[in-house]
């Protein structure tokens, strides 16, 4: 497989490219002028040891630990990400996800692995769930060749590169007046008359860049100051618009898909923004409103920011800045997160990322989650103005009753200019369209605290209202509404999809179309039901 440059997946490629050219700045939005920033809760100082320390107790959500560590990935894993970024690959080099056919035993697995030049032992396979394994080949970096060789073996059901997916959002900084038009556009107020915030028995897993679930003022962290690796005390904190009690079973799969950390820190802002739309605290006189604000959030970090990689690089003792500024979600982490959510009581999953490469492992994980009774909302892709290629795994949505691929609309219910148009589009929700000044506002990490290229010592404990656009922002609307439906006792994912599809307001061409799918999601009618004629 020829090295392939990942396409810029942000909703407006030109904006993202311009931001990168202007000094590698990824996050360009900031708190609106005059907007007071809100500081996270204060806790006693803690000391975070370097990578590899395993004896440090890891806090659970909402508790103030006496000692904690900021988990970082291994040097080997970091190297794979940096090499992928340096070579413009959309997969981690030398890594494949392989699924063996049912009944293939260890001997069969070993025989299949002999097809590779490195002839690895089956014991090196890292298992994600019962039937999917991650193979890291140190001899052949081209994961396409590895997967082709493995896929040709009779014992193998499929093999694929460990693809990297990108989040489907673009940071923005629009006018204050645009805030929360998104909830009015779908008449959320009426839906809350029926299901005010949903039930705390419903769990929404947000597979993303994480949502910080614990506050700590001085987490010892390593970074590069331009001339040396330095240690600094990094503050982290919860969003003031999320109570710690709202979080359940946080996990960080970017550190290790098979052995995730229970400490989750969002160093990007995307995950917090997405979770905010799903259901940040509402009617609390803080920041903005979320849709399912009484449900619980399961923050599953599967997407790794620039800062995650930088901290790991410095912690490993490697001088310099990490390569690439894009937040990336590796398939192994994503697959592990889907399976974890399904196995740990999630009713709804939101996943706002994707790539242009087919991803059978992700498809299998989706099928697994749906089979466990989980409804999935997934971003449709932001490539309408950038080749309009389909986005995976959103592309698989029509194959499942229980997963919906969500396109984005703007303030006048117009198709957002960037929102991918394809047969896999199933439903629409507000995602913003900055070409006409619309963005979706939620509380998230204060952008000026972690500007790539100019910030040396970032902090992730201060929050502001931030505007973003993308199908990333549209998808959590559907996830939140699905959580409200689940709160009313309808938890069958196929039923939730049917309800959302049947009650959507048809936009564009009559019936299902490639721009809007079945139309704009209508939360009130998705809860109110249908009569014979209306």
């Amino acid at each position: 497989m020829a090295p392939r440059r990942s396409s810029i997946r942000f909703s407006t490629g030109l904006l993202a490219a311009a931001a990168c050219l202007a000094g590698g700045i990824l996050v360009v939005s900031a708190a609106p002028e005059g907007e007071p920033q809100v500081k996270g809760a204060q806790v006693p100082n803690v000391v975070a040891p370097r990578v590899g320390a395993k004896s440090i107790p890891v806090p659970v959500a909402g508790q103030s630990p006496a000692r904690m560590t900021l988990p970082v990935m291994s040097a080997e894993r970091l190297a794979a990400f940096e090499e992928a970024a340096a070579r413009g690959l959309d997969y981690l080099p030398g890594q494949v996800l392989v699924k063996f056919k049912p009944g293939v035993n260890r001997a069969g697995q070993q025989r299949a692995l002999q097809a590779l030049r490195s002839r690895p032992d089956a014991s090196v396979l890292e298992w994600i769930g019962d039937d999917l394994a991650l193979l890291k080949d140190t001899v052949q970096p081209d994961a396409g060749i590895l997967s082709d060789q493995l896929a040709a073996q009779p014992e193998v059901a499929y093999a694929q590169p460990n693809y990297l997916m990108e989040i489907h959002a673009t940071p923005n900084d629009p006018s204050y007046s645009a805030r929360q038009w998104n909830l009015r556009a779908i008449n959320m107020q009426r839906a809350w008359d029926i299901a005010p915030g949903g039930s705390n028995s419903v769990i929404v897993a947000v597979i993303d860049s994480g949502v910080t679930t614990v506050a700590a003022q001085n987490v010892n962290t390593f970074t590069w100051n331009g001339s040396a690796i330095v240690q600094f005390a990094m503050p982290i904190g919860l969003s003031p618009d999320f109570d710690a009690s709202r979080f359940v079973s946080p996990r960080d799969f970017t550190i290790s898909p098979s052995s995730p950390s229970t400490l989750v820190v969002d160093t990007d802002s995307h995950g917090t923004h997405v979770a905010g739309t799903v259901g940040e605290n509402t009617n609390n006189n803080v920041a903005l409103a979320g849709i399912a604000y009484n449900t619980r959030i399961m923050p599953l970090k599967a997407c790794m920011s620039y800062w995650d990689r930088q901290f790991a690089r410095s912690a490993a003792g490697t001088p310099g800045f990490t390569t690439g500024t894009t937040t990336l979600c590796s398939s192994d982490s994503v697959v592990a997160a889907f399976r974890f959510a399904a196995d740990n009581g999630a009713n709804v999953i939101n996943y706002s990322a994707g790539s242009n490469s087919p991803n059978t492992a992700a498809r299998d994980a989706i099928a697994y989650a749906i089979s466990k009774g989980v409804f999935i909302a997934i971003s449709n892709g932001n490539d309408a103005t950038d080749g309009n290629e389909p986005s995976y795994p959103a592309y698989y949505a029509p194959d499942f009753n229980g997963m919906m691929s969500v396109a984005a609309t703007g303030q006048t219910n117009q198709h957002a200019i960037y929102s991918t148009t394809n047969d896999h589009t199933e439903i629409s929700a507000p995602g913003g369209d900055n070409s006409v000044g619309d963005v979706v506002w939620q509380a998230s990490i204060l952008s000026t605290d972690s500007i790539i290229g100019s910030t040396i010592f970032p902090r992730f404990d201060r929050y502001s209202e931030r505007g973003k656009q993308g199908t990333s922002m549209a998808s959590p609307h559907v996830a939140g509404i699905a959580a409200l439906i689940a709160s009313r006792g309808i938890t069958n994912p196929a039923a939730i999809e049917a309800i959302l599809r049947q009650t959507a307001r048809d936009l564009g061409a009559t019936g299902k179309d490639v721009q809007f799918g079945h139309g704009l999601v209508q939360p009130f009618y998705a809860l109110f039901g249908q009569g014979i004629r209306r």
Binding site: R190, I194, A495, Q502, F528, G529, Q530
Partner: protein
């Protein structure tokens, strides 16, 4: 337009009831052709049957063609209704005309549909079908029996309603629409003493384009309010007959 058509039909029917247009139906008692030299015998005058008026109460059981939609929302595809009407018999020979009003209603619940599963939402909705019939037909009395068969048809002016009573509903969530259709019917009635009648009738109503578009009827591709109706009637006769 349909109102105009119905008005024209009604006017025409009224016109044929005019005595000047009444025609005898009796045949000559002679089988021989009349001789050209003989004076043509006067045709025996058959008395025109007197007009008869009836008023009746009715009870309908309507089996809706949109059965899946009605079963999903109302739990049954049968709507029961009641009403009243009036008829004029012997307008011309055995022609009769009818005007009737019927109202059917049923309590239901808003639902979600997932394949073959019907999932109740918990919010009530009342269904209503009110129909004005304007029609007529031909009566065929059975000899020496107080029973008459009849067949006919007519225009239907139907108002279909869905009314939501829950606190979260707004008027815009209700449905109130008027549609025009037509019907064919046949039945029999029997005189009960001098003034009373009872009857039973089978009616098929065709009311196109009343449903579909939205709601569960769109999901089931049921777009009409067609119905097979069994009607029972109790009436009172007026007139000289």
């Amino acid at each position: 337009m349909r109102l105009m058509i119905s008005a024209v039909v009604f006017a025409a029917a009224t016109a044929v009831a005019s005595p000047s247009l009444a025609q005898g139906t009796g045949s000559s008692s002679s089988t021989r052709p009349p001789s050209s030299s003989q004076a043509k015998p006067a045709k025996p005058k058959v008395p025109r049957p007197p007009l008869e008026y009836r008023a009746f109460f009715l009870v309908d059981a309507s089996m809706m063609a949109a059965s899946q939609s009605f079963k999903a929302v109302a739990g049954s595809s049968t709507m029961f209704g009641y009403g009243a009407g009036g008829e004029i018999h012997n307008l011309w020979k055995k022609l009769f005309m009818r005007v009737a009003f019927a109202s059917a209603s049923r309590e239901g619940e808003r639902v979600f549909i997932n394949g073959t599963d019907v999932i109740p939402s918990g919010f009530p909705v009342d269904l209503g079908i009110r129909t004005v019939e304007l029609g007529g037909g031909w009566r065929m009395p059975l000899t020496n029996r107080p029973v008459a068969l009849y067949a006919g048809g007519g225009l239907l002016f139907t108002k279909y309603t869905e009314t939501n009573s829950s606190a979260v509903a707004l008027p815009e969530d209700d449905v109130a629409m008027s549609v025009t259709g037509y019907s064919v019917q046949g039945g029999l009635d029997m005189k009960m003493g001098k003034r009373f009648t009872v009857g039973v009738e089978a009616q098929y109503r065709i009311v196109p384009d009343a449903l579909g578009g939205n709601g569960v009827s769109a999901l089931f591709a049921e777009d009409n309010l067609n119905a097979f109706v069994i009607r029972g009637m109790v009436g009172v006769r007026f007139g000289k007959n």
